[in-house]
Chain length 204, copies 4
DNA sequence: TATGAATGAGTTTTCATTCAT
DNA sequence: TATGAATGAAAACTCATTCAT
């Protein structure tokens, strides 16, 4: 029913191709600098065809957000509710965020950089969901602080903001072709995060 | 600070007003979504007047970068070459970056978010200077690792990337009207940075 | 009234619903400002469905004209050929035009306002039929003038034009919810028409 | 300062030419069916130039209304406040409306036929002014009824509506090249109007 | 009989920039 | 030094119509 071969823009369904093209172009040139014509061309569709599936350019942007949010929220939820100590779960969550973000670099770039171009209502929804996501992650830090695994005198909020800032920033410097693999970078980032949370007087 | 010129006093501030207006608008709406007309209006100048001082919209964007880069580079240089242990200098540098970034939130926003709209040559220059800045900061980390003040098994490069990612991300959540002062946030961020660098086996 | 066909009962009314929806939308927004999609939506049909019954948007407009012309011509013919003095027949005709127009306000609006959007051949037909209608009505006035019931020194043509102009204009000010009933307005209009035709020296 | 020669579209000022072109095209093809491109072309200006003077297509339509309303209101006011019996003033007003409308046939056509395409606020203004105009004219009829010059049992409101309907309708049948001059038609229309208002029992 | 995908030409509007004054 | 008229290219979006199914 779906893709029988593995290349050519005519594979996969049209809306799929449109979202992919849009993601790539938005990441490369920014949302306002990308024309609907370019998206249509890149997806091998006419402009009219694009508007058959998405009622505006903004709706395409929204779709990029929906997909990333859905994916990330789902994964974090899975990890946060699994068994293991807070430190273990935070470690798993951090590694997962880093690797999945590295694999969706374009989406991440668009997410942070173009957010202010979302229509107001959509923006509110997206922000609310991102806040929930933030709180979920922060919750793991707080849990660890409560049970004594993490330094309690460092703001869990700040740690979370800092961590996601670092993730977002990956889009600026990380290149899949670079010297380190995604897994290594995930491990490094996680180590850095946990390192900053080590208790001042280690349990003897 | 600049221009001690000889023309009428109202004249002297026109370019200044233009850059300020442009910074604000670029931060609020993004570079491509801001029209030259809006900038001129916000600065109380006609479009023709704007083109008298800046030969293109891109040049205005460039100017925003020049100012921020100049300022930050200068301050970091001062601190890095001052006396004190690496840890002391890193602390001072980190605090300074946080507070000065918080005070120039709009410039920082524009810096990271709109960079890809710079004309190619300017972009190359800006990237080079940012790389130097990054290396200067990373150097402080490496120094501290060499003298044993910081954990040596954490990538100095990653720490630096992470830190600047966090700074940039401030523009997303920090509001001057929020509960914490700039100084407090600077202290917190710095503590977080240094905490992550604490040696695993504390100096006995 | 028409179509005693043999297909499914829901089918039979689709074209009917389409013409009604089109009439309403053309009257509200004008012919060019109404999209085929809107008409289809309003009739609860898909666009494809609409094109099954009408081969173009223009044909729908044409249909609005056909119906109104058929109706009005038929009624005037009936009245004009009935018995009674010219004044009596003119009175009956006028009352009938006013009331039937008031009951088909939307059709009347479309008739006069959107006529120039008819395709050329249709337009010619419609104009010819309207001219016949005009002449039929004017004939009644002229008859009355010949037999001395009406002032002979007033142009029958002008009276007719004026009367139909007034009728058309009803769409601008008349509202079914207004203070006067359709019958009252019909009586008033008729009185006004006949009043203007009264002989200068009343029959003694 | 103004037109030195009497033809060529480059004479007169640009906004003037644009309004004239718009009036003609709106009258010929209707407002929605007229493209901004056509107006610009007809006025010998680029589309950008058009938008330099009028901020939207709707504003051009509005301008057509402003001019006609201003003109007609001014003339009626002059006549209504002049000396003479109500009948004399009504006669003067009617003749003037007919002739000035005949000389602005296109404006009149646009006025009645395209009114519903005005933006809501403008529409409200225009309707209010038209209502004042209507009331002014109706006032003359009422005055004449009060002093016994006109039949009191005919609705002054209906007479006024009817008269303006007839005027509007002129655009449908009147051609400057026709057999009757504007003045003759004005006289005929006026005679018709006054004829309908003659008292039933003439003053003996 | 009816659908919905797709097209391509056309719509209004914006905008960075130039230039005569 | 500054203005405002003018341009021309490009933007987002709409729409009547066709057609395979």
């Amino acid at each position: 029913m779906s893709a029988r071969s593995e290349s050519a823009p005519t594979d996969r369904f049209v809306p799929e191709r449109l979202v992919e093209a849009a993601t790539r172009l938005f990441a490369d040139k920014g949302y306002p600098a990308t024309s609907v014509q370019e998206i249509a061309d890149a997806a091998g569709v006419t402009k009219g065809g694009l508007y058959h599936y998405f009622k505006s350019k903004a709706e395409l942007l929204h779709e990029v957000y929906r997909r990333l949010l859905f994916l990330q929220t789902y994964r974090l939820e899975q990890i946060a509710t699994s068994s293991g100590s807070p430190a273990e779960r935070l470690r798993a969550a951090a590694e997962d965020v880093v690797t999945s973000s590295a694999n969706s670099l374009r989406e991440v770039t668009v997410f942070f950089r173009e957010m202010h171009h979302l229509p107001p209502t959509t923006l509110a929804t997206v922000r609310a969901e991102r806040r929930r996501y933030h709180e979920r992650f922060r919750g793991l830090v707080e849990e660890g602080q409560r049970v004594g695994e993490f330094r309690p005198d460092i703001s869990a909020d700040l740690v979370t903001h800092s961590f996601f800032g670092a993730i977002h920033h990956m889009a600026v410097w990380y290149r899949p072709s670079g010297p380190k693999s995604v897994t290594e970078i995930g491990a490094d980032f996680t180590e850095l995060l946990l390192s900053s949370l080590r208790p001042v007087t280690p349990a003897t």
